[in-house]
């Protein structure tokens, strides 16, 4: 009997959501791009030595084509949870900076934090819903294996040793999320047919929402941020 119900539910899972489509879009940016302050890495000689020129803060990165990088786009309402991938995602610390600065992951997905620098970093998560942690990585090549239990947009990471270091991780419970790239574009693959609210999140400029309907054709969803 048990096996039968499992089988039936399996069939159900396979047959639901026959239609799905990709959602793509661009995050355009209007207005003058703000001048980002340079990071002062003097506190740690190892950090300073790794950069020949000074590095700007990644709080706002405007691409050459007047689009915005590092915007996290996800389905705020309407999506059902999907199974967590077993492939890990990695947040690395290189040159005393978090790479990538903004990223996404799924609840339950292995999340690896890597220290690629020969100096001490402490990985301090300032999560609100998930458990906070603060672990030291004093040696190069050290890895920290974590998992998030709850959806949370966004979890901030900082390094107390190097106060200029920060990263943001969007934790969602489905695979429908993306981060805008060097062209300011993003793509969410295979969103099942239905009505959704998309939300775009930016570190400085906040959030914006867009309602979309997905049928069997690709959907375009563009956002526009302007300088404050």
């Amino acid at each position: 009997m048990l096996r039968l119900t499992q089988f039936v539910s399996l069939i159900l899972v396979l047959t639901i959501n026959v239609f799905s489509a990709d959602v793509t879009g661009k995050i355009s940016f209007s207005g003058a791009s703000p001048k980002m302050p340079k990071m002062k890495m003097d506190a740690d000689k190892t950090c300073k030595a790794m950069h020949s020129t000074s590095v700007s803060s990644e709080e706002v990165v405007v691409n050459a084509n007047n689009t915005l990088k590092n915007v996290f786009i996800y389905v705020k309402e309407g999506a059902k949870p999907t199974a967590a991938p077993t492939v890990p995602v990695t947040l690395s610390q290189k040159g005393c900076q978090y790479t990538p600065h903004v990223m996404g992951t799924q609840v339950g997905q292995p999340f690896v934090i890597l220290n690629d620098d020969p100096t001490l970093h402490n990985v301090h998560s300032l999560a609100k819903s998930n458990t906070q942690f603060n672990n030291a990585q004093p040696m190069k090549g050290m890895k920290l294996n974590k998992k998030f239990d709850k959806p949370e947009v966004m979890v901030k990471f900082k390094c107390d040793v190097h106060n200029w270091m920060s990263a943001y991780v969007g934790v969602v419970n489905n695979s429908y999320y993306a981060v805008s790239n060097d062209n300011g574009s993003f793509a969410i693959k295979g969103l099942p047919a239905g009505n959704y609210t998309l939300e775009a999140w930016h570190e400085k400029y906040g959030t914006q929402q867009l309602k979309i309907t997905v049928a069997d054709k690709p959907v375009t969803a563009d956002f526009n941020y302007s300088a404050k």
């Binding site: 506190a43 967590a84 301090h124 906070q132 603060n134 004093p138 107390d160």
Partner: protein, 880 residues
């Protein structure tokens, strides 16, 4: 028809008939119809009208099943279907292998073997029984004096056959084992796959089980009986029967968090874990009529004679005081903690008797030297209306008439005319400061933690109370002379030996700068310029009468009034007061039903004529219910809506009755220490700077970077060595030298120091014992490893060591460790700093107990932490 009825009830006529001729048929018919109808009505009433809970239960069961089903579906949808399909394919393959000949033969052979085994063991046990029988006969012969040789031989023969049988049985057992092993090569795989599939479905199956149970849930009254919670007025145990869960079915079901009432999950599940409803019931906290089964009666809205109706909203925290009256802070009830904090800070206990708050020191300053501090004109204006000078002062408004205020002033100046107080420095030594520098110092060293000045109101906003804990200084130069300020800030205890204001150890030049800054805080507001005659005897005498009758001595120590009793009513059973005992004066009754208790319309106040409404009105304006004939003395406070509700909740809790001892929090040494300590840290406003027991740290609101503020000190008792703590509080020395804010010198008495130490130990659940911390011997054999880890973990990237070492200025000076920290605490701290102080910048080096250096000390995390601790203790001792 009517005639017939008349005839029927015409008893006189009936009496005229012969007894045999009297007919009662119709009479009985009517009576029996009435009986039938009333029975039918009773049944309907019983089943439908009086049992609304049955509908609730069916509704709940339906809702729960829906939610469980949705939860089940979601869990199923989260399962990776391809993995399950793969497992099913493998399972099918494994199952089909059971069809081959070898396996079938194996099963058959096993069957035969088991039969053989049964046969063999039967023979074996027969032989053993026979042996027992023969042995008995033989022994009988031995005891009788004639041992039989033939029996002895027979016995030997039987024992030999037993051994033979045993051999054959074990041989068969071996063959069975082998057959099983063979079969297992087929079945193990199936069992393994099945358990793997089961594992994937384990969460879903748990929900499924709940679903099955929910669908079979019976409709029944659910009740909790507590035999011994409280006593009647005749000191007999009184049982409580709580049937609340008959309708409030989802209180412990997390899935019901968004369900409508009465099914909603209890909003504080962690509180239910400590107070299991099966043991405490519901009405012990929520009040109401436990055994009632309809809303109106259970909640008390319909039964107006029920003395303890349901406590609504935050009023429910009043119940905490039944068992926790002797505690000032409850971790799971911050609302209750806040109420006690407000009560302690505004000083209700100064005028009212409140159990547990009898012997606290006066809340206001002593006034015996007042003539050296302020001018009579200022005191007169202050007494006339303190809130006019400083709207956020804790001193309430007594609404004195001008001549009364003059008389009180006259009395106070008469009392202090023999004061021999003199400034410690010559007049004018305050001169030469810079007000700009003074402002900087004022903001940095921590004055702002207690005093509001100008538009620097961040601490007031974070404290979020209607009153400040210390005077606002925005107009201070109109009140105090620069000579006085200089003397005061250099050493507050010089003017007032019992002041709560601590000494910030200001240098002469710092003090001069601050005086210069405070001198810019002028007062150009309008004042009452009455011509005061404070030397007249009748004025002084009238003043004394007023001071005595208004109970000024409750807050201010006044010579000659030390033995006066509390001026106002005892509040210990105020919560029991009936609305009939309350006088609403000329205040109209609020004609609106509902939650609004208080309304001001066109300048007229109206309150609900209820206990709630009266208390609200009284706390809002204590003179509200005053009439021409009934004067009222309670002074007027400035409480906010939230504070009124906090204090009213507390008043509601004072009922003068206590539950059975067994249910009360025992007032043991630890609770006693906590109580003393909490009163002390509230009095000295420690929480304005530090976070202690989850509240406080208001000063950090003035800082851009909160890590530059005073540290959290909840765990101080477990953390620091008691002698060090004592020494540090007596004369603080910097631990984090880069901090600008200063730990002040409080000049605590010996008792207060003792109370503080015991308090911190109690918070950490430790007891005070005599320990010789210098006897701690670091393990010398692991010092090399300790140093290696200390260096490779780069501890000095954040910490400093002694003076002048480079650092990120983030962690304390490690050269203090050996004298400051408890050795065992350092290991606890290293293990998981976040667990002790959530949000700390100190990272954990052993996530989940795993080490980054597996080759050091065999990778044993505990040994590694101890080695680092020992290294730090040694370098600390060497580096002074």
């Amino acid at each position: 028809m009517l005639d017939k009825l008349k005839e029927l009830f015409n008893f006189k006529k009936r009496l005229d008939l012969l007894i045999e001729n009297r007919n009662y048929t119709n009479f009985y018919l009517i009576i029996s119809i009435i009986l039938f109808l009333s029975t039918a009505w009773a049944v309907i009433d019983e089943i439908i009208t009086r049992r609304p809970w049955k509908d609730y239960q069916s509704e709940y069961n339906y809702l729960l099943q829906q939610k469980l089903q949705a939860n089940y579906d979601e869990l199923i949808s989260l399962i990776d279907s391809s993995t399950v399909a793969g497992l099913h394919v493998e399972l099918k393959k494994a199952e089909s292998s059971l069809e081959n000949e070898a396996y079938k033969n194996g099963v058959e052979e096993l069957g035969n073997l088991q039969q053989e085994y049964v046969d063999a063991t039967r023979e074996w046990s027969f032989a053993r029984s026979k042996s027992d029988a023969v042995y008995y006969e033989y022994k009988k012969g031995v005891h009788g004096g004639s041992p039989s040789q033939s029996l002895k031989d027979e016995l030997k023969e039987i024992e030999r056959s037993i051994a033979e049988y045993a051999d054959s049985v074990s041989a068969i057992q071996n063959r069975i084992n082998k057959a099983n092993e063979f079969l297992a090569t087929y079945t193990n795989k199936i069992a393994e796959l099945n358990s793997e599939i089961k594992k994937i479905f384990i969460d879903a199956d748990k929900v499924k089980l709940k679903l099955t149970r929910a669908s079979a849930a019976p409709i029944e009254i659910k009740q909790v009986v507590i035999d011994d919670f409280e006593k009647t007025n005749f000191s007999e145990l009184k049982a409580r029967v709580d049937r609340c869960q008959t309708c409030h079915l989802g209180s412990r079901e997390p899935l019901m968090a968004d369900a409508p009432q009465p099914f909603t999950t209890h909003p504080l599940p962690e509180l239910l874990k400590i107070h299991n409803p099966e043991k405490f019931g519901c009405t012990t906290c929520h009040r109401g009529q436990g055994n009632a089964l309809t809303t109106g009666y259970a909640h008390g809205d319909e039964d107006h004679y029920w003395e303890t109706p349901l406590l609504k909203k935050t009023d429910v925290y009043a119940s905490c005081n039944s068992c926790h009256a002797n505690q000032n802070a409850l971790k799971s009830a911050p609302y209750f903690t806040k109420a006690k904090q407000v009560m302690l800070e505004v000083g209700c206990y100064a005028c009212h008797q409140i159990d547990g708050y009898e012997n606290l020191p006066p809340i206001g300053p002593e006034l015996k030297n007042v003539s050296s501090k302020v001018k009579p004109e200022w005191v007169y204006n202050w007494i006339l209306n303190p809130k006019a000078y400083n709207p956020n002062t804790r001193m309430p408004n007594y609404k004195f008439l001008p001549e009364e205020a003059e008389a009180v002033t006259a009395f106070l100046f008469d009392k202090s005319k023999n004061s021999n107080f003199k400034f410690a420095n010559s007049n004018g030594s305050y001169k030469g400061g810079s007000s700009a520098k003074g402002k900087l110092i004022f903001n940095e060293v921590g004055c702002q933690a207690c005093h509001v000045i100008g538009d620097e109101t961040k601490v007031r906003e974070k404290r979020n109370t209607s009153y400040d804990i210390a005077p606002e200084l925005s107009h201070v130069s109109g009140k105090l002379s620069p000579d006085f300020i200089y003397d005061w800030i250099k050493n507050p205890r010089h003017y007032n030996p019992t002041t709560k204001m601590p000494n910030l150890r200001l240098t002469d030049s710092e003090a001069r700068d601050i005086v210069a800054y405070l001198q810019t805080m002028s007062d150009s507001r309008n004042k009452d310029s009455r011509k005061l005659e404070i030397n007249k005897k009748e004025k002084i005498d009238f003043g004394e009468k007023l001071v005595r009758s208004n109970g000024c001595y409750g807050c201010h120590a006044i010579e000659g009034m030390e033995r006066e009793s509390k001026i106002s009513v005892n509040l210990s059973d105020f919560g029991r007061k009936k609305v009939e005992q309350m006088d609403f004066g000329d205040v109209k009754e609020l004609d609106k039903e509902g939650e609004l208790e208080f309304e001001i319309k066109d300048g007229k106040v109206a309150v609900q004529h209820s206990w709630d409404g009266w208390v609200y009105g009284k706390l809002y304006n204590s003179r509200l219910f005053q009439t021409e004939r009934i004067p009222q003395k309670m002074p007027v406070f400035n409480f906010r809506d939230e504070e009124i509700k906090l204090l009213r909740m507390l008043l509601l809790s004072y009922r003068g009755d206590k539950p059975n001892k067994k249910y009360q929090q025992t007032f043991d040494q630890r609770i006693r220490d906590l109580d003393q300590g909490q009163k002390l840290i509230t009095r000295y406003a420690c929480i304005n700077c530090h976070e202690i027991e989850d509240h406080g740290s208001y000063f950090s609101a003035t800082l851009e970077d909160p890590s530059m503020g005073p540290p959290m000190i909840t765990m101080e008792g477990a953390k620091v060595q008691e002698p060090w703590l004592n020494e540090f509080i007596k004369s603080p020395s910097p631990i984090r030298p880069w901090l600008k804010v200063r730990m002040p010198t409080f000049s605590f008495s010996e008792n207060e120091l003792n109370d503080l130490t015991k308090y911190f130990l109690a918070v950490s659940k430790q007891e005070l014992r005599l320990r010789d911390y210098s006897a701690f011997q670091p393990n010398k054999s692991t010092l090399a490893e300790g140093k290696l880890m200390f260096d490779s973990y780069q501890c000095l990237k954040c910490h400093i060591l002694g003076k002048g070492e480079s650092s990120g200025s983030l962690g304390p000076n490690l050269s203090l460790t050996a004298k400051r920290l408890k050795p065992e605490w350092v290991v606890d701290w290293l293990k998981d700093p976040q667990a002790i102080q959530p949000g700390t910048m100190m990272p954990g080096y052993w996530p989940d107990g795993q080490t980054a250096l597996p080759d050091v000390l065999e990778g044993d995390a505990k040994k590694q932490m101890e080695a680092i601790r020992d290294h730090v203790f040694i370098i600390g001792k060497n580096k002074k």
